[in-house]
Symmetry: C2
Subunit: 671 residues, 2 copies
Amino acid sequence: MTKHLRPALLLACFAVTASTFAQTSFQPNLMPLPSEITQGSGALVLKSTFKVETPRTHDARLEAAIARAVRRMETAADLRHEGRGVFGTTPLVVSVAAPGQAVQSLTEDESYSLTVTSEKAMIEANTDVGAMHGLETLIQLVQPTPQGYEIPAVTVHDSPRFPWRGLMIDCGRHFEPIPVIERNIDAMAAVKLNVFHWHLTEDQGFRIESKLFPKLTTKGSDGFFYTQDEVKEVVAYARARGIRVVPEFEMPGHSAAWLYAYPELASGTVPDEIRREFGISNTALDPTREETYVFVRKLLTELTALFPDAYVHIGGDETPAPDWKTNPRILAFKKAHNLKDNDALQAYFNTRVLAILTSLHKRMMGWDEILTPELPKDIVVQSWRGAASLAKGARMGYEGILSAPYYLDGMRPAGVHYLADPVPADSTLTAEEKKRILGGETPMWAEHLNERDIDSRIWPRAAAIAERFWSPQSVTDVDDMYRRLAVVSLELESVGLTHLQSGDARLRAMAHTEQIDDLRTVASAMEPVSFGERSKTQHTDQLTALDRFVDAVRPDPASRHWSELTTTACLKKDAVACAQLTAWFQQIDRAIPHAKEQAAASPQMQDVLPRLDQMHALMVIGEQAADAVEKGSTASGKADWQATLNEAKRPAALVRFTFLDALTKLVEAAK
Amino acid sequence: MTKHLRPALLLACFAVTASTFAQTSFQPNLMPLPSEITQGSGALVLKSTFKVETPRTHDARLEAAIARAVRRMETAADLRHEGRGVFGTTPLVVSVAAPGQAVQSLTEDESYSLTVTSEKAMIEANTDVGAMHGLETLIQLVQPTPQGYEIPAVTVHDSPRFPWRGLMIDCGRHFEPIPVIERNIDAMAAVKLNVFHWHLTEDQGFRIESKLFPKLTTKGSDGFFYTQDEVKEVVAYARARGIRVVPEFEMPGHSAAWLYAYPELASGTVPDEIRREFGISNTALDPTREETYVFVRKLLTELTALFPDAYVHIGGDETPAPDWKTNPRILAFKKAHNLKDNDALQAYFNTRVLAILTSLHKRMMGWDEILTPELPKDIVVQSWRGAASLAKGARMGYEGILSAPYYLDGMRPAGVHYLADPVPADSTLTAEEKKRILGGETPMWAEHLNERDIDSRIWPRAAAIAERFWSPQSVTDVDDMYRRLAVVSLELESVGLTHLQSGDARLRAMAHTEQIDDLRTVASAMEPVSFGERSKTQHTDQLTALDRFVDAVRPDPASRHWSELTTTACLKKDAVACAQLTAWFQQIDRAIPHAKEQAAASPQMQDVLPRLDQMHALMVIGEQAADAVEKGSTASGKADWQATLNEAKRPAALVRFTFLDALTKLVEAAK
């Protein structure tokens, strides 16, 4: 039987098997899960598009949001696009008490209720933002049946656990065009994230136009930057979707592009071109000269005016600034001001910048390094150091958000990010201190990123993190999360993301043919090595072409969780699971010879060749081990297997196999 | 042996087999083929990016074009992106005599020479536009080797056969966002098309902002229109790529959206909403009232100012205008002006519009219907009626371009379009008359089009048509065209088109899963029915959701030409070809059960189910027939085959099988 299973059927098992492991009978494919959902009876059958009523407020933002939502449901549910003017017959009532805050803030009421019956759908909210969240839930509830589409009857009462739920995109190291930013904002809205943290300046590029200091972009951006009109467009685009935009202007470090443009602001060493190397640079602003603060004040006055949000991020991380220890003028300044070390000098700098921001009616935010006792309690700390560092700040009275466990460039599985909690269940913080943990942000650093692959690096993993920030703390079923993630991933494609397509495009470009079925099959069982591993193995700087096999494979593809689930089941003597595993190993193994042929002909895939040989050996081991486990027999050759596994675990060709943990368990059990 | 061929290897045979049939030893993958190309010795090995020299002119447009080209070659050839500022070491000399015309015209010198040696690449041209064509040829010459990328040594002297090489996109029936337009302009430039004909107004929508007459878009566009700033952006974008933009404002017919906004301009029947039905409407401007011409003059004065091009298209087709035969005022006008019928009245209208355009220093262009003896010889006729109609105009002294054989919505194979010549080899026109045939345009009408699938409807077929318009008339090898088309199709993806991705996205959306391998396999052997067939079978209007299986399959997929080539070879007793065919039939047949399962669960794929049953029957016939042909034996059951084939030939589920012609030949030969 096993030998005749169709490969594609096996792949379909990713979904089927996963659902076997799910726990409840009512399983709406929602992400994030709402705080309260009750199933009603029947369903709202979608035979025609919606007849929209907005009985209370109906301002332009809400109307546009409803129009977009209706259009998406029409597209998803095969309905005529009557929404443009001629309305349909399915009642959709959106009842909003007031539009909400003029400038969306942490205190915006994001709650909503959603009631779907067989007669109509109704969203009630206090604000437009709440209603928009309700619309996203409604869209996710649209389900296919062979006869058509419907929305199951439900009652939802929902509000977020944390008010700050962010995605940071680093547009400094590699620039991302506006359409990339905008489609990621749409995706954020789809999973109820509400802060777009825009990392706009870096050693490798200053990406926002300053009319006062044009050299910041004419010299510091290679021509890749956002005009002020574009910034305003993005801010408006985000606001229309209930998303705040928090800009980051890195200082005093991570400022090499800035100081290449205006070397007179530097504390010493001045780069003579844009810094292409990543990592920590020695370049920093000179915190001892008044000219620096005059410049910073003018610049922040100009640029923060583009961002209505109350918060401005000043970075502040990773500033070794060796010049601060050797420049005689700076040494003298430290002595005169009783600043014992660089940290104290940076705290002085931060205090000065804080005064500027305060005068601009902005609240200052920065990475862990800004947290020093000199700073008042109204700054916000973004922690790359972790929950403990964040909790320490909270005890001291500082508000903060957690980022350390959510670094997407780490290429870790969604399930790992998912279980990291900004306020862990065992937290010893008091209730008041806990409130200071505002939420979290998932950062997408851009060392190994370009505009073609960015979506697949962020999504769908960020959706699992969005659930962590929104849903009740008790929602922690990783298997169910993966089941729903597969569904939300398709929805994210429908809002415009390219995360399911970009890998294929890259395989075609590397293989110089449209016939990539076998490459796709082998790629589906590999994932990129972590940021650290890649940095160690491949010299990568800003000018490196990111067009290798590693850039074509996805972080945490479905094969990882599926192979773990199915192996667990096989080890429990589930014969079907063992057969599925065997057939999957065979399917991949059959793809290897042709994939090798294509890799051998491609300049970009030479390093993948030995990896494919390893993969073949692993598939053979997998087949034999699964067979032995199923039969309870002893696998011959097991002695040699460990060496093969150990060798395969070492990162090579910048990729890892997704199934190695599962295979290791299988091998251990094959006795 | 046959039974064990890997499916993916078989798919790879699409390319391999095709090249078997090609004829010459030096086969650069260029499209369009240049008028003269000679192979040199060796190759320019690409180890680092280019060191660019522009020894003569180097204006901003040229510099930007070179920067883009270098970037594309870096991306294609795995080179570090040094082009942004720090130059590489591979010499690229671009020597241009003068930037060219301030406003690109028919007389722009588009010729170029390209010389590649093992030392350097050199482009020489009289104008920037010529140099840009040379850059596109250079990019297409980049070839992979297992060790890296190189450009073979060549000498090219090239210039176009026709000066007018256009793509028309209908943005009236369905709107296309700016990014869609811009990436299609990039694709046009990649295959040396030089006219973007922008069909901006239709019964279903008026898509360009008028500040004088805002109701044209507030009432006539559903909110989907181009602002004047966006229009200027597109025109600049196109100019930067050597492409003229010719706007079309349809009058006096195809103007229902216009007259919905301004009913006082209509000759009678006025729509009370935007017309959703396609086809020919009865609505028309009133040609008898001076107010009409006052409005048209103001509107054209405002809108044509956005387009620097010398030509303005007024449509002019399909104006039955029944009101012109019944409205007493119009009847009186016709009598008073001695206009014997509606054609004469339309000619009067055209004369009046021509006077307006002439005063605006624009040349008038329109579809066949504008060609009447009342009109002077400086109008240009775009022929939807065909080469004979065009030749007739040329004999009368009118210039014209051919469009009839290039309608992309006809869903015909690239090979059919390819062999249609604007000036057929057997033309009886004099040399002077032939010169009046300026070239051609391929129109993409938008009844069945949306922004998600448009690229796959235009490309890669339009590349074959581009070759017809550019390359020498003698270039007519369809097999070689298809071989090169497969390569250029990948290049078109690299410039940003989604034609290779959109079908997969639609299959995922319909099947509600990422696991679409089997659906992809069956879809690869189907194509959409023609425009006419779809219009007959499915009631489609502007509000119809275009989200069915037909929208996921591509026109003229690789399986069509491959099955024909391979069948021809098999019939010549090529055993490998017969085995490939058999294995291909088996591969598809294996995919059918799971594809059926997925179709059965999908609301949008119910109509595909019987088609898949037919497909299974055809695959069985194919296997048996190929086997019989290979062995020279008699196939049993042949009597029943014809009925199955006949049934399968009828369009159903809005799709056709691509391999039916090939299979019919195979069946006929199986005796």
